[in-house]
Symmetry: C2
């Protein structure tokens, strides 16, 4: 994996944030994920949509595959040689929460002068959605009350 | 999400995810934020907790200050020269959602063999919290129903 020299320092072994960042904590990986959530699967799709260099894309796709976020599956189009496609795993789909949180923050704090083109919505109800902290009874918590460092009892 | 007419570089101008990533889309920035949310404010705090090189830390703190996430304020301890402290702005505090989403994903998909030491909880109710998509009536949406690319009507 990339930045192996950073890993011991950047990611505390007992910190889930650090371990998540090992897989998706860089710009290209997050942008690749964004495109994957919009349906991109082919190397050429990612390369063209992101204008990313092939060697960088190859490296980042490898990290995402190794990290269990993307699944590599061969496909073949008529008249072409077999190629590999990259499909989101359940772990990859669950990163929708991370991407949604980034989108929401960007909408609010890095707004485009003309406003956002797209946002978070439900395919079922059609309602707008936001990313929030909720408790086990589905009640939303105020962000001021949230602590990411609450000790967890040993199992 | 994707801006079909300006698909250049990492951050599409109309894409809030891309613009958020410009500020916080790298490993060190996310780790600096994690420490800031846990109370770190001094350069030396960040450097020692993260084992990050001073030049890298200086550069990343600068991006976070320029991006409106951290606010630079001078402080002075007895017998020392004045130094700059780095404090979360409201925009920085709101990134709790992003960090919480990363933590939750790491807990689930990159678990430590001994389980997590800390998690997401409410300082008020003491209840465990999770990061989820909710609608304007506070109803939680299933992740399968979430679309981050719903067109937003022009204002």
């Amino acid at each position: 994996m990339q930045n192996r020299s950073h890993r011991s320092a950047a990611a505390d072994t007992r910190c889930s944030i650090g371990r998540a960042i090992e897989v998706v904590g860089d710009r290209w990986s997050l942008l690749i994920l964004r495109e994957a959530l919009q349906g991109a699967t082919r190397f050429s799709d990612f390369r063209e949509r992101l204008h990313v260099a092939s060697d960088v894309l190859t490296q980042r796709l490898g990290v995402l595959v190794d990290g269990g976020v993307l699944d590599k599956r061969p496909y073949r189009e008529a008249g072409s040689r077999p190629r590999m496609g990259y499909h989101l795993t359940p772990a990859g789909r669950d990163l929708t929460v991370v991407l949604g949180a980034l989108q929401q923050w960007g909408d609010h704090y890095r707004p485009h002068p003309d406003g956002p083109l797209v946002g978070r919505g439900s395919r079922v109800s059609g309602r707008q959605l936001r990313v929030a902290f909720v408790d086990d009874e589905g009640r939303e918590a105020s962000l001021d009350d949230v602590d990411l460092g609450v000790p967890v009892a040993a199992p």
